[in-house]
């Protein structure tokens, strides 16, 4: 048991396992997700998904279980919901997610689904809320999908092709980031066969074994799935930190190319693009640096999903800004990450007292996090700092322009945002 002080305090605002499971399934085109549970949890999960993708949110429905159903079973409500889906919605896939309370009563959800005789595959899963948060729910959903819907053997493996695992639209800025990744991969001659949970259809996921390699983007979401696919089908995989910053992007793409059987001739195009942007940023910032100095923050705090915060922290420290001290705060387990030089402190978001202490010293600093950390800092009365949302929940920003933070284009946006905010910060008089 975690005996650190503050383990019981709740100052963080992650989302639940049901939201994670719903995000995975709602990220499959044509799927309908049934929350077999109470309205309250349903609304929470649905809102989490639809804030990032209105279309995905529309794929989620609820059986509206009440207190009586916990005693007598959810058969009546679930059967009614499935009948509605069968006649009105005609999906390609139905995913039934039991809420925590329904999971505990042990209803035969699969049996009820069979009786409903739907015209499509059905996947049943417990939301796993007692095991953790968003990541645990996502993992459980992915595992259930591939256990219940085996992937057919490919005719032949396609050269220079990969699957992206551990992707979800349930992360901040995810759609823009995936578009950038797909663009970069296409530029370097690499085809993405499927990205389960991030827009691929059931048919595309069915072709997943045609890929040469599985690439795990967010380990906390896709690590277990990659291992499962390796065990079930012998598919090789690599786990990399997501590509932030130009060096981070170069390292990410090089690692993928190295892991494949041969190097595509187009690979040089991406290398060239990275080189060009590096020169462009260097030259473009000269005047600004002459006038405003270097991008310096007394303290940098990066808070969010584990893979995101480590990758971003590395990019910020190695390429974008200078600081006296850099702290990362992880929403999920981080024992899988190798120590990264330059990251001074690593904390779990549940270590409330230590998190609070780090945020207290953010005057003149940089906060890369969610609106949750922003609110905590505002409550501390700290105004003079730069902050940029990199994780959900986000309640204090309008996002209408797709601005990735990953990849080559992402580096361009992130550099510009940090610099512009830094300049505004210098304009604030003490």
């Amino acid at each position: 048991m975690d005996s650190r002080p503050g383990q019981y305090a709740c100052n963080q605002s992650g989302s639940c396992a049901m939201a994670g499971a719903a995000s995975f399934f709602a990220g499959i085109t044509g799927a309908i997700v049934v929350i077999n549970g109470q309205l309250w949890c349903y609304f929470y999960a649905k809102r989490h998904v639809e804030r990032q993708s209105a279309a995905a949110g529309e794929q989620i429905v609820c059986s509206q279980v009440d207190g009586t159903a916990i005693v007598y079973g959810t058969e009546e409500q679930l059967t009614k919901t499935l009948a509605h889906i069968k006649t009105e919605l005609k999906p390609n896939l139905v995913a039934i997610i039991n809420s925590c309370a329904v999971s505990l009563i042990g209803d035969d959800t699969s049996g009820l689904a069979k009786e409903a005789a739907l015209d499509c595959p059905v996947v049943c899963v417990d939301s796993n809320g007692l095991a953790g948060g968003f990541a645990e729910g996502y993992q459980e959903a992915a595992k259930a999908y591939f256990n219940q819907l085996p992937v057919a053997a490919p005719g032949e493996t396609q050269r220079h092709s990969i699957n992206l695992l551990g992707c979800t639209t349930g992360y901040y800025n995810a759609d823009a980031d995936y578009r950038e990744l797909r663009r970069m991969l296409a530029l370097s001659g690499c085809q993405v066969i499927a990205a389960p949970g991030a827009g691929s259809s059931i048919q595309e996921i069915g072709c997943l074994r045609q890929a040469e390699l599985n690439v795990v983007l967010h380990h906390e979401l896709g690590g277990a799935l990659a291992q499962l696919l390796f065990e079930q089908y012998g598919m090789p995989y690599i786990t990399l930190l997501p590509p932030y910053g130009l060096q981070g992007t170069l390292a990410w793409s090089e690692a993928i190319v190295e892991a494949m059987s041969s190097r595509s001739a187009a690979w040089l195009s991406l290398q060239q693009e990275i080189g060009c942007l590096e020169r462009e940023i260097h030259q473009g910032l000269l005047d600004v640096q002459r006038l405003w100095g270097n991008l310096w923050f007394d303290q940098i705090v990066v808070a969010g999903p584990t893979s995101t915060v480590f990758a971003l922290a590395k990019a910020v420290r190695y390429e974008l800004a200078d600081t006296r001290r850099l702290t990362v705060i992880c929403q999920d387990r981080y024992d899988w990450v190798q120590p990264i030089p330059g990251i001074d402190t690593v904390l779990a978001s549940t270590s409330t007292c230590q998190v609070q202490a780090e945020l207290t010293s953010l005057q003149g600093g940089l906060l890369l996090g969610s609106s949750n950390e922003t609110a905590l800092v505002q409550q501390l009365g700290i105004k003079k700092m730069v902050r940029q949302n990199i994780a959900l929940p986000v309640l204090d920003e309008v996002v209408l322009v797709a601005s990735p933070f990953m990849g080559v284009t992402g580096t361009r946006y992130l550099t510009a945002r940090l610099w512009n905010q830094y300049i505004r910060l210098q304009e604030l008089l003490d």
Binding site: Q7, C10, L39
Partner: protein, 398 residues
């Protein structure tokens, strides 16, 4: 505040706090350093689901009391704790004996034992039982029994100023946002006033008022949160009757009528002759549609039709129809009959956002500000919306 639940359930409560933070920030009402109930969670996992979470809860209570030294602790049970049959009361009693501070458990377990308001009521009852004693009455003092956010919100300010006309001073706001000192003041009140705001919530808050009446002989104003002019008149009369000052109530009403006239002079004219469509998708348990028709009549706006949205069940649609029949509304139709065609309307007043971005829509809040201030807010926002240049549509939140 302790959630006896999986950690993620507490995240949801934290997220609600986060919304409040930014809501108050956007209205320049954020108060830094204001003491707030801190949120803790017992963090139930698979292990506790099988072997019981009593010890985990006790560890949580011990850790938080040792570190934070609170004046009291309230435990809210999750549905998971309900399904696994946790004896939270016993844990609370034992911890209370050990630490010597009030440690209470709300009986309800998530959705298993009623809705939001039943939990709200149970928490209020616990606070009455533990913190209130009979004491001398403080003349002219009022406790607001409310579930309307922060005590400095616009809604509460409006009721405070209305009560001031009766020479009544709000000295406690109960049960949320109350310090122990304020809780202890409640039983000295001369009167309690209920701020429920919905057919569903009002009976529960009234039960709290009845408890205070039975225990401490504090009368209460048996009239809900006044939205609309007629409701405001009724509320003023009810306050007058409760303190036996009907003549004063008449004066207060006249003063408010004058205030209302000024509001109409300032903004009401902008709606004169405008064509309005109402879209209602909220059940009558949570929404009072009459005041909209009243307001339309007062502004000389023309109500083209009232559309009952498909988000309402058949029973809920019927309930809205019955509620509106007395007003002989024009063109009461259902979305499924004619769709959401809004041609010819200058303004659509709706409970739910409509997808058509060309429409000028004013989205009604779950609970509008009460009294004349609420009418003024509506008129001002609706006036701005209909004054938009050209054909520009869009949404304004009321």
């Amino acid at each position: 505040m302790v959630f006896h639940s999986p950690r993620a359930c507490a995240h949801i409560a934290r997220q609600m706090n986060l919304y409040n933070h930014f809501r108050y920030l956007s209205r320049q009402q954020l108060k830094l350093g204001e003491p707030k109930a801190q949120l803790f969670v017992s963090n139930l996992t698979d292990r506790q689901a099988v072997f019981g979470g009593g010890q985990q809860l006790r560890d949580c209570i011990d850790a938080l009391v040792e570190k934070h030294r609170p004046q009291y602790v309230v435990i809210a049970n999750s549905c998971v704790a309900g399904v696994t049959g946790e004896d939270t009361r016993a844990v609370a009693k034992e911890a209370e004996e050990y630490w010597g501070i009030p440690i209470m458990a709300v009986d309800g377990h998530g959705f298993l034992d009623g809705d939001y308001y039943s939990g709200f009521f149970q928490a209020g009852q616990l606070l009455i039982e533990r913190f209130m004693k009979k004491q001398d009455r403080q003349p002219g003092t009022v406790t607001l029994i409310a579930d309307r956010g922060h005590p400095d919100s616009q809604a509460v300010r409006e009721l405070r100023q209305l009560l001031q006309h009766f020479k009544l001073r709000v000295h406690a706001y109960f049960p949320s946002y109350a310090s122990v000192h304020e809780l202890e003041q409640v039983s000295a009140s001369e009167l309690t006033v209920i701020m429920g705001g919905s057919k569903r919530g009002y009976p529960w808050l009234k039960k709290l008022a009845q408890t205070l009446k039975e225990r401490f002989e504090i009368p209460f104003v048996d009239c809900d949160y006044p939205v609309g002019w007629q409701a405001t008149q009724k509320w003023i009369a009810a306050v007058g009757a409760a303190i036996d000052e009907p003549a004063l109530a008449g004066e207060v009403e006249r003063a408010q009528e004058l205030r209302l006239k000024k509001q109409f002079e300032a903004a009401g004219g902008m709606l004169r002759g405008k064509k309005i469509i109402f879209c209602i998708g909220r059940p009558v348990d949570f929404f009072n549609p009459e005041w909209l028709l009243e307001l339309a009549a007062m502004t000389d706006a023309q109500v083209l039709k009232i559309i009952l949205l498909d988000s309402l069940s058949l029973e809920a649609k019927q309930a809205v129809k019955e509620r509106l029949q007395a007003f002989c509304p024009p063109g009461l139709i259902e979305e499924s009959e004619q769709g959401l065609a809004q041609s010819g309307a200058d303004l659509v007043v709706t409970t739910h956002e409509l997808l058509d971005e060309k429409v000028r829509q004013m989205v009604l809040p779950l609970l509008p500000t009460p009294g004349v201030a609420g009418l003024g807010e509506f008129l001002e926002k609706a006036g701005r919306l209909v004054s938009r240049y050209g054909q520009r549509g869009g949404v304004v939140y009321g």
